[in-house]
């Protein structure tokens, strides 16, 4: 499943480590989510969407 996490993070000038610290996960996990190797749980997906002040559907392409 494709997602916009890398683009949203880049827009805010955050590193993967910064985002990981904000979400309470490791830098590796942020990288895995961005590259699509790891699909986050629903609570983490919602946390990511809220962090970027958007919706889960806007962050994650559920049709992909």
């Amino acid at each position: 499943m494709k997602n916009e996490v890398r683009a949203l993070r880049g827009d805010r000038g955050l590193s993967q480590a910064d985002l990981g610290a904000a979400l309470g996960v490791s830098r590796q996990t942020v990288n895995s989510i961005e590259t699509g190797r790891y699909l986050p749980s629903l609570p983490l997906a919602i946390t990511i969407a809220r962090f970027f002040e958007t919706t889960v559907e806007e962050v994650f392409d559920v049709d992909e």
């Binding site: 979400l23 309470g24 996960v25 830098r27 590796q28 996990t29 609570p43 983490l44």
Partner: protein, 132 residues
Amino acid sequence: MSTNSKPWYCGRWAVPATAVLAGVAYLVVGLVGGQRGFALGGFVTMLVVAAGYVLAGRYSETMKGLLDREDERINALDRDATVVMGGVLMVAILALGLIEIARGDDGSPYFELAAVGAVAYLGALLWMRWRR
């Protein structure tokens, strides 16, 4: 919103403390059984393992995640690796039991261990079925 539910037994020091407790158990049973080499060797080895966990947790994100249990992806990796370990262990136990049968023995203790594994699996399945 929490992204994981951390049980009380999954604190940061749970794994090192378990290693130390295992070392103490080795020490006690070794001394009780009159095997000082096993007692001291086992105790020191498990202390080194506990220290290794703590030190590795400072340099490795994965090890840190395994210790503090706060990263859902690392928790999932740990869970999946445990499933693989359980599967490999069951295959090995059954294979060793069959070898014992082929040698003319009764397959003990391997088939008893396999039975414990089967009961544990069914118990866990029923418990989770009831909870989820």
